[in-house]
């Protein structure tokens, strides 16, 4: 068997092996690229409502918290509460944070839900698991490199690396350099 046949076998089989994770990286890559305009891992919903104001100096007890939760219709599991300043009470329940202005009775709710699938994809893409996953991701990156190199030599002739392929490969190298020149 000549070297090109081996090259094509490696390219084909690595392509199959890398398909799944490449799709994960494609979707997550686009998602996290635009982190300045959206949250790729969580859906955050803000709701405004109001409760009966709580007069200054009223001691805040668990009953007060329970009353606020009942007034706002929040039934999630209570976790904790915090007073960032004398006028404000924050109540943390599962998936929701209620920020209550005690004097005015204004309540701002911040409901957080993880984006299904996308959050898991970002988790892998951004290497949050660390540990063994780091090594696996390195192996995947090396495989992508090998895919790229073997890809250059799949075809021979005019459409291969000695013809059209050379122009396209050159363009692919020049494009990121152009952006470096523009922005770096």
């Amino acid at each position: 068997m000549n070297w090109r046949r081996w090259n094509n076998i490696i390219h084909r089989d690595l392509g199959y092996l890398c398909f799944g994770l490449t799709i994960v990286y494609v979707i997550s890559g686009i998602a996290v690229n635009h982190i300045n305009i959206w949250n790729p891992s969580y859906r955050i919903e803000h709701l405004k409502s109001s409760i009966k104001p709580i007069p200054a100096g009223t001691p805040l007890s668990m009953n007060t918290v329970t009353g606020i939760l009942a007034e706002t219709g929040e039934t999630g599991l209570y976790k904790n509460s915090f007073r960032p300043d004398p006028e404000t009470l924050q109540i943390f329940v599962e998936g929701n944070t209620l920020t209550v202005n005690l004097a005015s009775g204004e309540v701002l709710q911040e409901k957080v839900k993880a984006r299904p699938i996308l959050r898991q994809m970002n988790f892998l893409h951004l290497n949050h698991p660390k540990k063994l996953w780091s090594w696996f991701a390195d192996l995947y990156a090396l495989s992508l490199g090998l895919l790229a190199v073997t890809g250059l030599f799949v075809l021979k002739g005019k459409k291969g690396i000695t013809g059209r392929g050379a122009w396209l490969t050159g363009t692919g190298i020049l494009l990121p350099l152009l952006f470096l020149w523009l922005y770096y």
């Binding site: 976790k79 915090f82 943390f92 957080v112």
Partner: protein, 156 residues
């Protein structure tokens, strides 16, 4: 013997309240310190802690929703909190940590910001929270003390 043992036992029980026994979601490097430093102590005299490794504990009251690269934990004194910062991606604090108790081991750091740097700092924080920012709220240079986290445990 009892005269020695009883006060000794009382001392051990008292100090035991400041020694943590943590279990939960472990993030970053393992927490090695045993003695918890009160956040109020750091805030009372931050200069004394700059560059020192500490273990703090408190309720997580805010988490960076964009990257999970910082969180605020409540102090043991009312109306106070401290920021816990990590290098993006090294530790990612989950949004679900809000309202839960956390133990954080890290180094206290001091940020001395000029007025312009402070404006940039607060603008960036507002952007992360998706809030509007008015530069006029920054009136001058600022010093911020925060903890550069090495490891954390978010209790379930």
């Amino acid at each position: 013997m009892k005269k020695i043992l009883l006060p000794l036992l009382a001392f051990v029980l008292c100090t035991a309240t400041t020694v943590c026994s943590y279990s939960g979601l472990e993030l970053g490097k393992p927490v090695t310190l045993k003695q918890v430093t009160k956040i109020s102590e750091i805030e009372k005299n931050p200069e004394a802690f700059v560059g020192k490794k500490v273990l703090v504990s408190g309720t997580v009251v805010e988490v960076c929703s964009s990257r999970g690269c910082w969180m605020n934990i409540a102090s043991d004194t009312p109306f106070e909190k401290i920021q816990i910062k990590v290098v993006d991606g090294v530790i990612v604090f989950p949004m679900s940590a809000r309202g839960q108790n956390a133990y954080v081991e890290g180094v206290v750091e001091k940020l001395s910001l000029s007025k312009n740097e402070a404006i940039d700092y607060y603008r960036h924080k507002a952007e992360e929270k998706g809030q509007k920012f008015d530069p006029a709220t920054v009136t001058g240079a600022e010093t911020i003390y925060r903890i550069r986290a090495l490891g954390a445990v978010i209790e379930h």
